[in-house]
């Protein structure tokens, strides 16, 4: 049990997995001397055979990961930025997602793909995507989005050990967040996290939206509104029982999401809740998402895209007062 930052938790998870199993191999661009520090000293400890700087060939590297996983390697591919999923997308969609199904179970691709979400860092549109929906829509691919330091550690370890391909969405905005973590506290893929129990409003939060969600929840509590805050931490699979129970209890559903509005994770979760909890709803569910727009460079402009705590609070007050 020790205090750790989110970024360091990533590093420790990679380290611990590589220590635990000598067939775990880490591949990515610039990981031997990583700019951000989340692979620091792994190269010194595990060497060039297991910590591999790849050329800028995302498709080939991803296919290499899948192929090697068929013959005993447990590869972790660091694609660095979530937006770089696109350039390896055919290997993910046509090979990784389908290899088990097409061979009726005779193959499985135990690969882990790590990507960082860089929204909010003035990285402009080509670096700031949050492509959860695109990945969630692929049968055969699992995905997680840890929003706590503990989950960053535990979910990476669960993902590496999962026999199926898992995309791990890591949020750069949480990089320096610090928490006490317990390494032995394993977290299963697919189970959401109850951040704060409450009785009046259900807030479901995705990835780094947890920051603004938490601030809004505290402010609302001081006004006598007791929210139940749930962090999904897994995208697919996602066991909806906790969320359904919560919505049936409170009657109000708010989803705080980073996806772009159309086919967003929020819209998906809301549709499922309406389908299961319709008669319990006291008001239409409320979604906070990015609009159907790209991310501008200017920090002032970018700040207009994501719901801030005041927007969330205002939206919830309007919801319950109507």
């Amino acid at each position: 049990m020790h205090t750790c930052s989110y970024g360091n938790a990533v590093r420790e998870a990679l380290h611990d997995e590589m220590l635990h199993n000598k067939n775990v191999v880490l591949m990515g661009q610039d990981i031997q001397s990583n700019v951000y520090g989340y692979t620091e000293s792994l190269y010194d400890i595990f060497g060039a055979q297991r910590v591999i700087n790849t050329p800028i060939s995302e498709a080939a590297v991803l296919g290499t990961a899948v192929g090697s996983s068929l013959y005993g390697i447990i590869p972790i591919v660091d694609l660095t930025v979530a937006s770089f999923l696109y350039i390896s997308m055919d290997q993910i969609a046509s090979i990784a997602s389908k290899i088990r199904y097409m061979h009726n179970g005779k193959h499985n691709a135990q690969i882990t793909i790590l990507v960082w979400l860089l929204y909010g860092t003035s990285s402009a549109s080509q670096h700031s995507d949050r492509p959860f929906s695109m990945i969630m829509n692929l049968p055969g691919i699992k995905s997680v989005a840890p929003a706590s330091v503990q989950d960053a550690y535990s979910l990476i370890r669960s993902s590496v050990n999962d026999p199926d391909p898992v995309v791990v969405f890591l949020d750069r905005n949480l990089f320096y967040q610090k928490e006490v973590i317990i390494k032995s506290a394993a977290v299963k893929i697919g189970i959401p996290r109850l951040v704060k129990p409450g009785s009046m409003v259900t807030i479901v939060s995705i990835s780094g939206a947890i920051k603004n969600s938490t601030i809004a929840v505290e402010s609302l509590l001081s006004k006598g509104i007791d929210c139940e805050l749930i962090d999904v931490r897994s995208l697919k699979p996602l066991d909806m029982s906790l969320i359904f129970e919560s919505v049936k209890k409170t009657g109000f559903l708010v989803v705080n999401d980073l996806s772009s509005q159309v086919c967003s994770v929020a819209e998906h979760l809301i549709a499922r809740c309406i389908s299961q909890c319709f008669t319990h709803l006291k008001a239409p569910p409320l979604a906070f998402t990015y609009p159907d727009a790209h991310t501008p460079f200017s920090p002032y402009l970018e700040s207009k895209l994501l719901a801030n705590p005041e927007d969330i609070e205002e939206g919830i007050l309007r919801l319950i007062n109507n």
């Binding site: 191999v25 055979q49 790849t54 050329p55 060939s57 498709a59 080939a60 590297v61 991803l62 296919g63 290499t64 990961a65 899948v66 192929g67 090697s68 996983s69 068929l70 013959y71 005993g72 390697i73 055919d90 290997q91 046509s94 090979i95 290899i99 088990r100 199904y101 097409m102 061979h103 009726n104 179970g105 005779k106 193959h107 499985n108 049968p139 055969g140 699992k142 999962d162 026999p163 199926d164 699979p237």
Partner: protein, 328 residues
């Protein structure tokens, strides 16, 4: 070039005949509407798959394309497994979930046939990576066409294979056409083995109508790969005797000037690889008409049996439609 002994030549001949008869049977089944989906026959290209695959060991990995029947058969895959899959039956290699374009047989290390052009090359880098990591002495062989040489994954994979010294045999079957697009209309230099040279890869260009030449060059390249632990490239010039695919109303779509071009090409092409080898074997008194006929009969019977089994086998249960998407 060493002379190959009689049993080796007979084996090469038999395998090519097996593939030819298999493809002709599939074509007939398609005409009779007994099988669904597109069939991509490799008729005319038998020498390249047989010559290469017979130079591989059982444990060497094979990755192929949508034109998957020939390479699988050449590697030694079970005809029953393949035919049942083409019929979409539960006894097929994928339980009917893959079909003609995705045949495989793990018993002979034919691990995947992938239809997205160029998508098999990265996969080959992967299996080869593992083979090298575990010092297995095995190699990976990946087949693809001239069309694939323009995909990004082709270039990425060749670079990766040379930079990481991966034990891969890259086999480009150049039949000068991608679906209906002549190669010369989309590239300047049709000597595609040059592309591998530009990555400093051991690269050869072979006449794909001579199975003996393919076989011997493949043996040399494979020895090189095993000895040096570096990749090698074979460009094999072949002639596709038929359309890109049969089925899915393709005949109507392909009714254009291209078809005359193809027929002209076929007519002008020196020789059928099967006729070429059997003629040479006749001349060298390594085979008689009786033996040749016997081979044809035996192979025809094997294929006929595979069809019978496939026709009788059941389809998978409906729950199989959504099974094996995930491991758990």
């Amino acid at each position: 070039m060493n002379t190959l002994n009689q049993s080796v030549q007979l084996n090469l001949l038999r395998r090519m005949i097996r593939i030819r008869l298999f493809e002709e049977k599939c074509s007939l089944l398609k005409d009779q509407k007994k099988i669904s989906g597109p069939i991509h026959a490799c008729t005319g290209q038998e020498a390249s798959v047989v010559g290469v695959c017979q130079a591989l060991t059982k444990a060497d990995v094979l990755i192929s394309t949508h034109r998957s029947h020939g390479s699988n058969i050449a590697k030694g895959a079970s005809l029953n497994l393949l035919m049942a899959e083409i019929f979409g039956k539960s006894t097929g290699c994928s339980g009917g979930k893959g079909g003609s374009m995705h045949l495989f047989d793990l018993e002979v290390s034919s691990i995947m046939s992938t239809a997205i052009v160029g998508s098999g090359l990265p996969l080959a880098c992967g299996t080869a990576f593992a083979q090298k990591y575990f010092s297995s002495q095995q190699i990976t062989c990946v087949f693809f066409g001239d069309g694939a040489s323009n995909e990004g994954t082709f270039h990425e994979s060749l670079n990766l294979a040379t930079a990481w010294k991966l034990p891969i045999l890259f086999v480009l079957e150049n039949n000068n056409v991608a679906v209906t697009t002549p190669l010369s209309s989309v590239i300047l230099n049709n000597q595609l083995s040059n592309r591998a040279l530009s990555y400093d890869m051991n690269s050869k260009n072979i006449d794909g109508q001579c199975v003996k030449s393919v076989y011997q060059n493949a043996v040399d390249s494979i020895n090189y790969i095993r000895d040096e632990c570096k990749p090698a490239f074979l460009e094999i010039k072949v002639q596709r005797f038929g359309e890109h695919q049969q089925g899915a109303a393709y005949d109507k779509v392909a009714d254009c000037g291209y078809k005359d071009e193809l027929l002209k090409q076929i007519a002008s092409y020196p020789l059928d690889p099967i006729k070429k080898l059997s003629n040479e074997m006749f001349e060298e008194k390594l085979i008689s008409t009786a033996v040749l006929e016997k081979i044809y009969m035996e192979e025809y019977l094997l294929i006929d049996q595979a069809v019978s089994c496939a026709e009788q086998d059941p389809f998978s249960s409906s729950s199989e439609a959504t099974s094996n998407v995930y491991s758990n």
